[in-house]
Symmetry: C2
Subunit: 200 residues, 2 copies
DNA sequence: TCAACTATACCGGCTGGACGGTCTGTCAAC
DNA sequence: GTTGACAGACCGTCCAGCCGGTATAGTTGA
């Protein structure tokens, strides 16, 4: 009994409780994956980062898988809303969805884009590592995007290229494979824009 | 930076299986990741699959990181050779490198392509999960590809699109996000081919 | 020629630490 | 006094890495 419960939580060690515990835990888990990688995400670490105990975390998420499922469901919903907003921001007509995807992938403010990109990557990789089947909600969102692009009135293949190119840049970023310069991004954006102005 | 002993050039006394132990261990590690995911790759499992003991594995690869490094070095070398062969197979002139990349990404026999794709994905994901810094050799290979594409005499952005689209399809495959139909792949291939026939 | 020695190529038990999940305890609010 | 929302000790499992042992081939020296 040399070291009893000497540590009492007078004040939370980290940020002072923004939002409810559930949201804080989700945010903490994302932050840990971004900072320390997928293997750094343990229940204890997530609990500590969120300012709750391990038991507290397990009260909200009964297992690690439940935590990842929660993370993924939140992300899928954000993606869906983002994508719908991007479509709504484009004028109607052929290629509307593809233009929205392009605007989404080549967002003008790289900061905001990178932030969201990294959050998505963290959730994505953590879920995939635990169990690839957890990506179901994301797959569903992507399938709906693909349907929308396919019915967009573009020449065959052009929609697929837009999606694949966006995915490729996403992958390059999350794995740190390479970082295109601003000029390169602009050139790619311009070339893709020309591509989706064509009609079948 | 050589992990393991110098290879003996004489035939092994009695080969219990195909190839030397080192190669068998590397192959076994890849197979495990493909079959059971990154988290299924343990030293014991790799040793068992390769038909050696754990101690035997550790004789050739002093740590798990050394094993992953070996896996990655081998893959980077294969990629480099593949890419050079793909370039050599294309007629000279502007867009040669981009045509090689296109042929590489949209290989005519999907089986062979998928096999290599999955092997690469296994190594890639396992290494990334252990330590993203291990991807250095791959990054180097990609950087050289990007340089080659940039000096290929294509309109700005077109080379980047080819690369990004290929990467996107790669990502879609390794994460099982979606599977383009044969028709879709053909359409994308045709559209990208048109793209790289243009001159600045 | 043959015993002693050395290097190579393994074998497999062991340990220490990390991690997911369980369980009991606590405490304020209703 | 019951319930919701935690706290935190604890347990079983898994795994990387360590270490002592072993078998065989090759070398050396008397």
């Amino acid at each position: 009994m040399s070291d009893g419960p000497a540590t009492v939580q007078a004040t939370p060690p980290q940020a002072p409780a923004a939002g409810d515990a559930r949201t804080r835990i989700l945010d903490a888990a994302e932050a840990i994956v971004r900072a320390r990688g997928v293997s750094g995400l343990t229940l204890e670490a997530a609990a500590r980062e969120a300012g709750v105990s391990k038991g507290g975390l397990l009260y909200h998420f009964a297992s690690k898988e439940a935590l990842l499922t929660g993370l993924l469901a939140r992300m899928a919903e954000w993606m869906r809303l983002d994508f719908e907003a991007a479509i709504a921001a484009q004028p109607e007509g052929p290629g509307r969805v593809a233009r929205a995807m392009l605007a989404w992938a080549f967002e003008l403010t790289p900061e905001a884009s990178n932030e969201r990109c990294d959050r998505a990557a963290a959730v994505f990789l953590a879920a995939f590592h635990h169990d690839p089947a957890l990506l179901g909600p994301i797959r569903a969102v992507i399938a709906r995007m693909r349907e929308a692009v396919a019915a967009d009135g573009l020449p065959p293949g052009h929609g697929g290229i837009i999606m694949a190119a966006g995915d490729g840049l996403f992958m390059a970023r999350i794995f740190g494979l390479y970082t295109p310069t601003g000029q390169e991004r602009q050139d790619m954006h311009a070339a893709l824009s020309r591509l989706l102005e064509q009609r079948p």
